[in-house]
Symmetry: C2
Subunit: 308 residues, 2 copies
């Protein structure tokens, strides 16, 4: 069988990087020629996880069709979140936990999506189903992915299956999930040295909602004021982004990982949709969304409904 | 949890009907309120399977949003093959073995597709994963689905997993797969009393290929001449269908289940695409496709490539 690449979405987060590594490891153990790669820079939270468990970051690629004919996607399926030339390769497998949209194949495919909090939780099942043992480092990375996506089990996206998988993986990895998890999240929430441009691109995803193009960027922080100290510059960068990418709406979300509330800044022609979506009033283009931490479960569905 | 309906595609075949029943049975056994329904008439092959194992056909429905808020799809995902009002309900699960296209959700979903020959083969795994025993009648229906989709293990879509699942299910059902299978296929291949309109609608599916709308209808037979004795009427019915549904191409496929060849009749503005797709010459709008039995694996991918 020819070589395949496995990767997560652009602006890779901890689940995307760690699940790509874990699934490539599983595939290699059952004799398949698969390499994990990534579509962007490794963030500080992910780097903390990689360093803790002594694993190298996957190689960064811009395109994939120049290397392989087939690819495996983890932690995403929408083509605008994937490799630039995704249309030029055949997707043979998808392991994901997001909605399905802008995804189409010509042939039957292995597609495994479950409405759980993290791709790594599904991978934990697949390791068992295939009878492949999870090594200590891989378990550590998979645990990191679950902690990251679930904000240490506090996000509404977190299911009992995620909690159970994390418990199993923490035991294999030999760490205390709560203690290690808080350290890892703090490493990721450190925004020191970040420019306004960094803040709106670190974890940004573009969505089609109704007939509109919407980008939702999120940062985790322990102090929202720190983030919005750069508000003027953030607004400038968003304006450039709206223009360059032909967006109808840009929502910048700063999530306080201690209080589990988010402060949003909404700009673009469809900014008012935010008011309908979250039943809030924008003041000076901003609003506080109480108890909202999840882009996938709380922000995207509400915005999609408001714009459709 | 509110009630959910589970159903396969329009123009239901044996896999669609039997997998809907089997998955509803599994769900009921784990305490969920799920009812299997169908989107069209039960064909003679499926009726033979239902009669053999003493199971009632599911209730027929035209629409679903008038009954439930959520649905589960088996054996299909493309919206044009689903309930007319599929956009008005939330799809919570899909169990399928086809390509993914024209499918989109607002929320994360449980999606299980594998490139195997039959939905029932995937269900056989899910029963095991959930630790639910398969009763004799359900095993018989699942076996029937595999025999039907794999043309008694002769289709190129048939994988080792399908063969293995069929063996397990035949043992539970207490039948000889080869002997029972041939009887069932013959029951389905009997076209006596069928009108031209019946022939082009019994097992017809519509596809988007590139920017074209294409319908591929297939019948199984033990004598292709029997089928094309009605050629004049078949052509009239196809002409009506092309017009009414704004199709660019209609391919009618008569598959000989003994020789495993297919004879096709191609009509519509894009009929010539068939020549590129299968490297054949149409003579009087017809061609013989040697060794072609599978719409999914042999006909649709080739036509899609030729039209894209």
């Amino acid at each position: 069988m020819a070589k395949s690449l496995v990767f997560g979405h652009k602006n890779p987060d901890t689940d995307t990087i760690c699940s790509a590594i874990a699934y490539a490891t599983l595939k290699q153990k059952i004799g398949e020629d698969v390499e994990a790669v990534r579509l962007g820079a490794v963030g500080p939270e992910t780097q903390f996880a990689l360093d803790t468990f002594g694993v190298e970051a996957p190689r960064e690629v811009k395109t994939v069709a120049n290397e392989v004919e087939t690819v495996i996607l983890v932690d995403h399926n929408e083509r605008q979140q994937s490799a630039e030339d995704i249309a030029d390769v055949r997707v043979t497998e998808v392991i994901d936990h997001h909605r399905i949209a802008n995804f189409e194949t010509a042939d039957p495919v292995y597609y495994r999506a479950e409405p759980v909090g993290c791709t790594a939780t599904i991978l934990n099942k697949i390791f068992k189903e295939k009878g492949v043992e999870i090594d200590k480092a891989t378990a550590g990375l998979m645990l990191s992915a679950i902690i990251s996506d679930s904000l240490l089990f506090k996000s509404p996206t977190c299911t009992q299956e995620d909690v159970d998988a994390a418990k199993e993986l923490a035991a294999i990895a030999g760490v205390d999930a709560e203690e290690y998890g808080l350290e890892m999240l703090k490493a990721g929430a450190s925004l020191s040295g970040k420019s306004a441009r960094d803040l709106i691109t670190i974890d940004a995803k573009e969505f089609s909602m109704g007939s509109y193009k919407v980008e939702v960027a999120q940062v985790n922080t322990v102090d929202v004021n720190d983030v919005f100290a750069l508000r003027k510059d953030i607004e400038k960068e968003i304006a450039i982004n709206l223009e360059e990418n032909g967006l109808d709406l840009f929502v910048f979300v700063a999530t306080d990982i201690l209080s589990n509330d988010s402060t949003i800044l909404a700009l673009g022609a469809q900014a008012k949709a935010v008011e309908t979506a979250f039943e809030v009033k924008l003041t000076d283009d901003m609003a506080i969304l109480k108890g909202v931490v999840s882009r996938k479960k709380q922000i995207v569905p509400n915005l999609t409904a408001a714009l459709s």
